[in-house]
Homo-oligomer: 506 residues x 2
């Protein structure tokens, strides 16, 4: 069938879509999400069909601008692929749907997917052959039907091969990951210099915040650039032993990012996907020894130990199948780790802590040292039982701080004094309304307030906690201070605090 | 935040979408499918966010056409709602996501939805507040998690109230529905005139074909118009007692159509949705007595009786809760009903059968009479055990045919002789390759071949079966004849037949 092209001056940035009017679609027996093959001057591409329904309420002049019979709307990606202009004629015919749709249906019906099927599915994801609706069905199927460890392994491997792989000459490559949900949990920023100072290789990629007030990448970016390609990342690692870069700037396990995007609207996180997602990112940087931190507690992602142990066992099984060594720990997820929440506030925390200053965060320091110790033992760098001791020595002698400065410089940053890191102009301190012991500080609420204040896109905004759980406070003591560059945001944050404190005193 | 509008000269025809570039989205803390509020000169609408990712492969001149920072792409619906032009500035702020997303999440997690929650969800569907991805999650949740009868009832009622309701003065209003999957199953076209001739009121709406070679609406349209609004439909019913119109032209249970559209890419049909979908359409025409036909057999949608009985019980329970009377029958779904498959071929079948001609279809006649009989008894028009007899009398005395002519005229059609209904120019007959008994005629294959031939959009195309299951045929006997207006389509249909016969002779 021949149709006249109507170029739409925008891209989808994603899957290639062609728009038809309802009558032509019906005539060609097409429904939304069906596939058509477009041919023009020797080039051809497969597109997903989108159908404009007749809108009876549209004013006359707008109706003329809608798609008419005989027209096909093409977004920029298609125009570019076919090198075609508006008004030109193009031949369209029905095309097969991607075979992976059968696999998605299989998963929805609770059947096992083979390694080959998962590889094809992941290929279709990165080749943008599947629509978001079709991917949503895959996510739902993974969420509600069982994915056994063979499937998760195959999915992980498929994800690794869907993108670039960082190859390093060292035999031992270390990495870590925290399940998340805990505010100010910047242990990576200490662990990397500790382990690099111990002579290990740690190619740490981190994400920007998704729902929290800051991701590790946002915080590090206060001190130095984090956006590098794979080659530059390798350079930094070969020079210093470690790095703290933004994973999103590279193409590591890219299928994972697409799946996460489709999971987002419903905030669902199928366990199989979670496992594959994390281990794929680690394997794509060739990690051989990995630490997984599962924070457990009230207000964390995982609230009970039973669930955490279950997840731990799955990580251990998956690592075994991927020929990686893993140590899975459960830590306290019931409150924010550091004192500052928000990029600049956290950056200051990190620097003070590495410098062994009393202004640093004891909780952050102890947790980071503990975790670094586990990795020192896992890799054999430290004898069993000696890891924490060695990690503590590296911090307290200033070696970790020196290495951190080295990494910052290698990433193009300059040494800053923590007190020189600017915070947002306006601030407001919240005081304790009564005397007592702090029994709970809610991660979600604190993150929310920090975000309302402007973090992370306003790096200087956030929240500073004067006390942590267990502290005795007197009525009138400072509890926390809000920082924001906008009075409007500050006011809204204060309003929110009136409704949901976030800090419980008994 | 203020952004400059870039108008996109096309509509989405559906949910209102605004497009942002990646940097602005990150700055505003937005991800795809988040919601934003747009305000302009006193008007405001909530839109779903779509994000253009930076495409590093795009040529320079195309990059300029992509969305730049500070720009927001608006499709026609938004432009119309806000009365805004390209280049104008608009204020955007984050908006709450629809509350029904929480309900969709609930369903995914296997929890019961309350009647109120289902009503809000359905409202969000028809107000185009939910994206296709979000709806896909609802469909997946309904498919994989249990939906109890209270939920199905509430969903049905919500769907009914999502659109128009046909109100009629009669106390008894009859309707029927067939689960589908059987080719040439045009029983409705006989049942309507039979029951209307008996003095019952039967406001029959039908669909066009979705995956078959013809829907009832396609076949009736060969004889008279089927597109009417609700008022005109009521007029036809008040005049003749019945009608055979296309449901898609009206706004009856519109949420159902949207859900069906989202089910389509994966062809999933959650039972709860199926039940609600069917009964909602019946209730929206105020039906009090409904016949549900579940064809069972090899090649039908439902292949075993156990499944059919299960479904039957659910229909009966749902009808009870909706205060409707229902008769659920199981019939032979293992082969096409009529002789012709395709709109014109089926129209000829129907006319010949109603005229009691030997050219008619005995199977279609007997099945329709049986079903009409069940409804005559259900409504009390016929004593128990007498329904079929009375229905047969109505057909064989020509009363059904007279009534059918009346309905056709009321719908603006003219009386045609069956032999005057044109068929496609080219035809090809397939002959029996051996002598034996026909043991199977596959519905799916026959439908597929008829569609390849051009049905239903080419009304004159299709397949004509010379024999049905159980018939003794000799080698060389005509089995079936293909009709198509296109040699290309005919050839392709013949090729397909070589691979998958569709007719089994033993």
């Amino acid at each position: 069938m021949l149709l006249k092209v109507k170029n739409i001056p925008i891209g989808t940035g994603d899957i290639v879509i062609a728009v038809l009017c309802e009558q032509d679609a019906t005539h060609m027996d097409l429904q939304p999400e069906d596939r058509i093959l477009l041919k023009h001057k020797g080039k051809s591409i497969v597109e997903t069909v989108d159908i404009i329904k007749k809108n009876n309420n549209t004013k006359k002049n707008y109706k003329q601008e809608m798609l008419t019979r005989g027209q096909i709307g093409l977004f920029l990606e298609a125009q570019y692929a076919l090198n075609i202009n508006s008004g030109e004629t193009i031949e369209i015919s029905t095309a097969q749907k991607p075979i992976s749709l059968q696999y998605i249906k299989k998963k929805l019906e609770g059947k096992r997917l083979t390694s080959k099927e998962l590889h094809i599915l992941v290929q279709d994801i990165i080749n943008k052959n599947l629509s978001d609706v079709e991917l949503a069905y895959f996510v739902a199927g993974s969420y509600l039907q069982h994915m056994d460890m063979a499937e998760v392994t195959a999915l992980t491997e498929a994800m690794v091969h869907s993108g670039d792989i960082l190859k390093l000459p060292q035999h031992i490559i270390v990495d870590k990951h925290c399940i998340g949900g805990v505010a100010a949990n910047r242990t990576s920023i200490l662990i990397v210099p500790i382990l690099a100072a111990a002579g290990l290789t740690i190619p740490k990629t981190s994400s920007r915040s998704i729902t929290s007030a800051a991701g590790t990448a946002d915080t590090v970016e206060v001190l130095c650039p984090v956006v590098f390609n794979l080659d530059k990342m390798k350079e930094i690692i070969m020079k210093t032993g470690g790095c703290l870069v933004w994973g999103g700037a590279m193409s590591l396990a890219p299928a994972d990012d697409k799946i996460i995007q489709v999971e987002h609207p419903l905030s669902i996180d199928p366990t199989g996907q979670l496992l594959a997602s994390i281990m794929a990112k680690k394997k794509s940087v060739s990690a051989t020894h990995v630490l997984i931190d599962i924070p457990v507690g009230r207000g964390a992602k995982i609230t009970d130990m039973k669930e955490a142990i279950k997840l731990k066992k799955m990580f251990e099984e998956l690592a075994r199948r991927l020929h990686m060594k893993v140590a899975v720990i459960t830590t306290d997820g019931s409150q924010p780790i550091g004192n500052g929440i928000g990029p600049s506030l956290e950056a200051r925390d990190v620097l003070w802590t590495l410098k062994n200053s009393s202004k640093g965060s004891i909780i952050l320091k102890n947790k980071s040292i503990y975790m670094a110790g586990v990795l020192l033992e896992l890799t054999g760098k430290a004898k069993k039982g000696k890891g924490e001791e060695i990690a503590r020595e590296i911090v307290e002698t200033g070696k970790a701080y020196q290495k951190f400065m080295e990494i910052i410089k290698a990433q193009g940053g300059t040494i800053k004094k923590p007190e020189e890191i600017r915070l947002a102009k306006k601030s407001q301190t919240i005081f304790a309304k009564k005397t007592g012991i702090i029994t709970h500080i809610d991660n979600g609420t604190i993150n929310k307030i920090a975000r309302i204040a402007g973090a992370p896109h306003d790096k200087e905004a956030g929240v500073y906690l004067h006390y942590h759980k267990g502290a005795h406070v007197k009525k009138g003591d400072k509890l926390f201070t809000l920082y924001s560059d906008s009075q409007e945001r500050l006011d809204y944050a204060l309003e929110t605090i009136k409704k949901i404190d976030g800090i419980e005193i008994r």
